[in-house]
């Protein structure tokens, strides 16, 4: 989230799309309700009339997988009706930048496309620069090669009639959404977009988020209270675990993992040159990288050995979830660790993921429960144990309140959890398990003369002398030290690239500024202004609560409006002041060079309407899902041209003739993710005890299905049984004159726990987004029949 939960109360309009917070982030509604009391509006856009829709002022339905047409049409509407915040757009985005000849867009393809590689040559999408490397601009925005004009032209194709013919949204509802949300483009108003996995789990997932950001920038909604782009995280610490580098392509703090495929990455020097932009805050990257290496390799990281850079693994491919399971399916993996994760229920095409586990030699599962994943070899999973040779180690883990440590919520607030009770039975905290395993491995490798063992032997591992690690030492290592004085660092601004500082995760640096002062433990809940609660816990980066808050002030440094003030330039004190930590150099005057660069992480200090960095184009463009019941109306490109397709048995594709129904998945309030935590508890199991499939009355009638009937849902990947839930919450869509049905189902169920049921992900495909490889869980084709 650019903003935070308490800040929602300041919004004039919340556009909730690809998310159902009333169900899945229930307490967020405490603040949305406050916003309503303050006169704000709630708009809910969802394939289904959800519990969020029931709380909304405006509801509009859309067919799964059509966010880009929906929002593209709003962009067109805002531009055509002059509702954009022009000065914000001119000064704080790259709207005025001139795009070089070479960029083009025709029939769904941007220039530079290579069909055989299914990839673009991004050097065709370049901003014109002057000799000193500065972008060429036209602040009138009239130049036909300006980003603004190219964007305007791109989305002029997204007129209301075409859009609603694709999304299936009733036109009146669509116009109501446009009117309500685009009214936040006025100075003195702010609107927020709240989203979750309904947005990201598509083959165009990244571009779905991008198009929300473009709309928000045009309306001048980023950096303001009650504004922003707010991703609601589904897990209590999925924010933190991402920040801490648990995805293959990022080290901690969003530093790129070195790659064997990039010749520059052969040396640290080359890596830093390649990865570090010349301007913007990321120009400090070498300080973050070297300090991380010092945290990981300690005294073994010296200037002479590139601070241990060569010890880091260099991959040569995309190792993300789908590819990982494909490799396992093909027998390329031998061992796997599963830390509180349950892909046999939660993974795409879960039947295949279950099969893949049988190709492992050994698997370690660390969990509070026996899950469908650790029990994948049992007959209950449809397996024959005698044929599965995987050795399985299941380690009992402590619950969250049986240990201590911090977690980071969606608002980036790092809050502390104290230990309330000893772990149940022999369960142990993950921290202890990881630590002891590391010590045992260190022992096994001790004194090895092999060069292959050096990288691990040189890994610095000093968390006290006992079997149980000293968590405080871990926390301090994350914060980082001045290695000359041994003192804790007060801010990441003090990091150096010469090996004299350390920090395990630069974006968190400053949360532990001095001995005995772990700021994530702060519990001062006095409102420090505008509900930012600066003395409650710690928010990364730098305890900042609203990201890009420089954009809440105009170029001269004064708030665009009194109502939406966050920080402003105080000429007398010669610094930025306000009710949040400035997302800006606190002493840089608006009149100084860079003084209006509200998006300082980007190299030119502006936000990118035109983003030449994505794999599938600088502007979001609509393509149909991998499996879709209709042709793409916008171009002859049916599927995202940059999406990687895995052919064969691992990812069977269904056609609309056999599978005419659009399927999607979602969650219910009582269960959590794959259900392993909640289906193993009595009350929640009783509250939501059965697997069901929700469908419209019209569809049920067509198929002769009654409420509570046992039905079978099938896709090219598999079949599941469930109860029919016939409701008014789904309605057939009118897509280009054709009736399209959609159904939906929760993905929480499996064969373990008190509440059991078939696993929805047996139906979903192994295809991912062109940028992130997030699986397309949210739109697939299926069919439905009565079970008897």
């Amino acid at each position: 989230m650019t903003n935070h939960w308490n800040d929602l109360q300041h919004t004039d309009c919340a556009l909730i799309i690809g998310a159902n917070p009333a169900e899945n982030h229930p307490i967020s509604f405490r603040w949305l309700t406050k916003a309503k009391e303050n006169g704000g509006k709630i708009v809910s856009v969802d394939p289904r009339f959800t519990r969020t829709s029931a709380q909304a002022d405006v509801y509009a339905a859309l067919r799964s997988g059509t966010d880009i047409p929906f929002i593209g049409g709003m962009i067109n509407y805002a531009i055509q009706n002059n509702l954009i915040h022009k000065e914000y757009v001119v000064k704080y985005t790259n709207a005025s930048f001139i795009v070089k000849e070479g960029y083009d867009f025709k029939d769904g393809l941007f220039s530079g496309y290579d069909q055989t590689k299914r990839a673009y040559d991004k050097t065709k999408w370049v901003i014109e620069t002057t000799e000193d490397g500065k972008p060429v601009k036209d602040e009138t925005l009239e130049n036909p090669r300006s980003v603004f004009q190219l964007m305007k032209k791109h989305y002029s194709r997204y007129d209301v009639d075409t859009v609603t013919a694709v999304t299936g949204t009733p036109k009146d509802d669509y116009l109501k959404v446009c009117e309500t949300f685009c009214s936040t483009g006025k100075v003195g108003k702010s609107g927020t977009i709240m989203y979750a996995m309904g947005t990201t789990q598509h083959t165009v997932g990244s571009q779905n988020v991008r198009i929300y950001a473009i709309l928000q920038l045009l309306l001048g909604n980023i950096g303001l209270p009650g504004g922003g782009i707010n991703a609601m995280r589904g897990e209590s610490n999925v924010q933190g675990s991402t920040d801490f580098g648990l995805l293959f392509d990022n080290l901690t703090g969003y530093l790129a993992a070195p790659k064997a495929t990039l010749p520059e990455h052969v040396t640290l020097k080359g890596y830093l040159e390649k990865e570090t932009p010349k301007t913007g805050y990321w120009s400090n990257k070498p300080k973050f990288v070297v300090s991380l290496l010092k945290s990981w390799y300690g005294n073994n990281a010296t200037a002479d050995n590139e601070f241990g850079y060569q010890f880091l693994p260099k991959g040569n491919k995309n190792y993300s979830h789908i590819n990982l399971f494909n490799a396992m399916y093909k027998g390329e993996l031998e061992g796997a660790f599963m830390f509180g994760t349950n892909p046999v229920v939660g993974g795409p095409n879960a039947g295949k993921e279950k099969e893949a586990l049988g190709n492992l030699k050994w698997m370690v599962a660390i969990d509070l429960w026996e899950t469908e994943t650790s029990a994948f070899w049992q007959t209950g999973a449809g397996s024959d144990p005698s044929k599965i040779n995987t050795e399985v180690f299941l380690l009992p883990a402590s619950a969250s309140f049986e240990k201590e440590g911090s977690i980071s919520n969606s608002s980036r607030w790092m809050q502390y959890r104290w230990k309330a009770i000893d772990s149940k039975g022999e369960a142990r905290p993950d921290l202890d398990i990881i630590h002891e395993l590391a010590l045992k491995l260190k022992k096994l490798y001790a004194n090895s003369p092999k060069s292959a063992d050096k990288p691990f032997l040189f890994l610095d591992w000093n968390y006290g002398t006992g079997e149980v690690p000293d968590i405080d030492l871990v926390a301090k290592e994350i914060n980082g030290y001045d290695l000359k004085t041994g003192k804790l660092l007060k801010t990441f601004g003090d990091l150096k690239d010469d090996g004299s500082t350390s920090s395990g995760n630069w974006i968190y640096s400053g949360f532990y500024p001095e001995e005995g002062k772990n700021l994530s433990k702060r519990r001062d809940n006095v409102d420090t202004g505008n509900a930012n609660y600066l003395n409650w816990s710690f928010a990364w980066p730098a305890n900042r609560r609203i990201l890009y808050n420089r954009a809440s002030a105009d170029p001269s440094g004064q708030p665009w409006s009194k109502e939406k003030a966050v920080i402003w330039w105080d000429a007398a004190q010669k610094k930025w002041i306000g009710n949040d930590v400035p997302d800006f150099k606190a002493v840089t005057a608006p009149t100084e060079p860079g003084g209006t660069g509200a998006f300082m992480m980007n190299k030119d200090g502006v936000a990118l309407l035109f983003a030449p960095t994505l794999n599938d184009g600088p502007f979001p463009e609509h393509y149909e899902p991998f499996e879709s019941p209709v042709p793409n109306v916008f171009s002859s490109q049916q599927l995202n041209p940059a999406t990687v397709i895995i052919e064969g048995d691992f990812n069977k594709k269904g056609g609309k003739a056999k599978y005419p129904i659009v399927g999607t998945t979602y969650r219910v309030s009582e269960h959590w993710q794959s259900g392993s935590m909640t289906r193993n508890q009595e009350w929640l199991s009783e509250l939501a005890g059965h697997m069901f499939v929700e469908m419209s009355e019209e569809f049920a009638k067509e198929r002769g299905i009654k409420n509570k009937d046992k039905i079978v849902v099938s896709s090219a990947r598999g079949e599941i049984k469930a109860y029919a839930m016939v409701t008014k919450r789904f309605k057939p869509y009118n897509v280009n004159g054709k009736k399209v049905h959609q159904i939906g189902m929760p993905w929480h169920f499996g064969f373990k726990g008190f509440a059991t049921g078939d696993t929805a992900n047996r139906l979903t495909p192994h295809i991912g987004d062109a940028n992130t490889m997030i699986p397309e869980f949210k739109a697939f084709l299926c069919d439905v029949r009565r079970a008897d």
Binding site: F339, E370, D430, E436
Partner: protein
């Protein structure tokens, strides 16, 4: 040490009715008076520890009341500005993570081809896991590929971590990358 706002806590203990209303209103009970009485009794001599809900990314505060190695009661933390004492159905039932009979309490091992779990002790489990890790790593480790130092193994994967604490995710990423593991993924992807 936990820096609890004591006066607020004392106030809550003294006014059981208020606290009960805060805590259970989401579940829809209405017999406030009776409940307040039982609750007053229940939390009379408990230790109170603040925690954060382990489910969604809202990050609601919860107070855990314990007595003699029992979790007697949990309730929304009225001092946490995010939820001000309110919880949804999942946060409300936090206690059952401790009391559920389904909790794993011992390490379990399943041998190749076997149809059952066997109980093992921690020492044996971690020793064996360390051995398996080392064997696989040693047999698959690549130091140099096409003339480039790569120091990796592509035969071990590590998945998960979104439910772990930050300190745990930090050590996990450090250990796995330290071993040269490239298949490192977690729930942010799915």
């Amino acid at each position: 040490m936990v820096e609890l706002n004591l006066s607020r806590r004392q106030f809550l203990k003294l006014s059981g009715a208020t606290a009960a209303t805060l805590a259970i209103v989401e579940l829809g009970f209405d017999d406030k008076r009776a409940y307040a009485k039982t609750k007053e009794f229940k939390i009379a001599k408990t230790t109170v520890t603040p925690t954060i809900c382990c489910y969604c990314g809202v990050g609601c505060g919860i107070l855990v009341h314990t007595k003699k190695n029992e979790v007697v009661y949990t309730e929304g933390d009225p001092d946490n500005p995010i939820n001000e004492g309110k919880l949804c159905s999942k946060g409300t039932t936090l206690r059952q993570l401790y009391t559920s009979e389904k909790r794993l309490t011992k390490p379990l091992y399943r041998a190749p081809g076997s149809s059952k779990w066997e109980e093992k002790d921690w020492g044996w489990m971690l020793d064996t896991i360390a051995k398996r890790t080392k064997d696989t790593r040693d047999a698959s480790f690549v130091e140099v590929e096409n003339g480039i130092t790569v120091n990796k193994t592509e035969k071990i994967a590590s998945l998960g971590g979104a439910a772990l604490d930050n300190e745990e995710t930090y050590l996990l990423a450090k250990l796995m990358r330290g071993l040269g593991i490239t298949y490192l993924e977690h729930q942010a992807r799915i």
